[in-house]
């Protein structure tokens, strides 16, 4: 189960990040994940839907049940997914804080 304390893979985190501000279809997730602010992950359709399938199975993501004109399916985070995303964000933030502190300390010594 992904909700455990194990770090999320970059692809999983990028998908959760893309869905954190609302439901999206596959291509929208891909586009946002490819942005530097979205993780800079270039996900192809094969990787995207394989990962989405596991996230749905682990109850982190669910289909909204809605489709648009082109019959694109939309996905959103579940409550479990939000908790996992928040936990991972906190873990990464803690790492970043440490990294910044060490970089600054090293800069001060130089």
């Amino acid at each position: 189960m992904i909700e455990s304390q194990q770090p999320l893979t970059p692809a999983v985190f990028a998908i959760l990040l893309a869905l954190a501000d609302g439901e999206k279809h596959g291509y929208a997730i891909m586009k946002e994940a490819a942005l530097p602010a979205g993780g800079g992950m270039k996900l192809g359709p094969g990787t995207l839907y394989g990962t989405l399938d596991r996230l749905i199975r682990d109850a982190l993501v669910e289909e909204t049940g809605l489709t648009d004109d082109a019959r694109r399916r939309y996905y959103r985070l579940t409550e479990t997914g939000r908790r996992a995303f928040a936990a991972e964000t906190e873990r990464l933030a803690a790492s970043l804080r440490t990294a910044y502190a060490r970089t600054e300390a090293r800069g001060a010594r130089v």
């Binding site: 596959g26 291509y27 891909m30 192809g44 094969g46 990787t47 839907y49 394989g50 399938d53 399916r73």
Partner: protein
């Protein structure tokens, strides 16, 4: 509205068969729609766009198929331990059987080694002459008895009590060459198809140089080896069957224990 390159799109649609069937059934339409969407907004060239898509499809197909194999194994510890045990038994069992086979073959060189050394030292010291070699008629095709052939330094047979179809056999030519620099040669001699002999050739030094060859049919050892091979295979097969049967039983028992007690719940 832009449409993706029809040739590449058709090829991609066909290549989706690489993807595991369950995922293909669930996501094929979505994947194709995503490709259409990406093609509309693509900033790279046609070739690089499709190249990336195909690479992704191949990589993800391999990954998903491996996960499909791995997940059931690791999800149930009983399958994991069964697989590990089967691997250990196989990796341990086959080398052990091969070692045993090697030991059996080495054992087949006795008593020829001792006999050849004794004869060679007796001739070299003058305690035995050609006339004093064992007489008799050992038929190499049928007998399991050891036989002795004495050759002079030119390879000419001086005496023999072993015959094949009434003839004294000449050893492989390499034996005499080897014995120029080594005192002994142990080898499997196959003078005729189907006839294998565990042979020991010993160089004779001294006043009457030559070679004494003592051999014995390997028929018995071959039968034992064949029995060992069959026994090993049957044992391995039985162990695997027991392991698989045991794993299936434990898996079923675990599954039954994990089921909710519905009868109690409805009571």
């Amino acid at each position: 509205m832009n449409r993706p390159n029809p040739v590449f799109f058709a090829l991609y649609r066909g290549s989706l068969h690489l993807y595991p069937p369950r995922l293909r059934m669930l996501y094929q339409d979505q994947m194709l729609q995503t490709v259409r969407d990406a093609d509309v907004e693509r900033s790279s060239g046609v070739m690089s766009f499709w190249f990336r898509l195909f690479i992704d499809l191949i990589q993800s197909s391999v990954k998903e198929r491996l996960l499909m194999i791995r997940e059931p194994i690791f999800a149930r510890p009983v399958f994991f331990y069964t697989l590990a045990l089967a691997l250990i038994l196989t990796l341990w069992g086959f080398p052990a059987a091969m070692t045993l086979q090697g030991v059996m073959r080495s054992a087949a060189d006795q008593p020829q080694i001792q006999m050849a050394q004794n004869y060679a030292s007796e001739i070299a010291s003058g305690h035995r002459t050609v006339e004093q070699f064992p007489d008799g008629h050992v038929d190499l095709a049928t007998s399991l008895e050891p036989f002795t052939i004495l050759y002079d330094s030119n390879g000419k047979a001086l005496h023999s009590n072993g015959y094949f179809n009434g003839e004294i056999l000449a050893p492989p030519t390499g034996v005499f060459t080897w014995l120029r620099t080594h005192p002994t040669d142990k080898f499997t001699w196959q003078p005729r198809p189907g006839l294998r002999i565990a042979a020991v050739a010993q160089r004779i030094d001294g006043a009457h140089p030559g070679v004494v060859l003592v051999g014995r049919s390997l028929t018995l050892v071959q039968q034992q080896e064949s029995l060992l091979r069959r026994g090993t295979f049957v044992t391995w097969l039985s162990l695997m069957a027991i392991l698989i049967g045991g794993a299936a039983f434990l898996n079923r028992a675990q599954g039954a224990a994990g089921k909710p007690a519905t009868a109690h719940g409805h009571a």
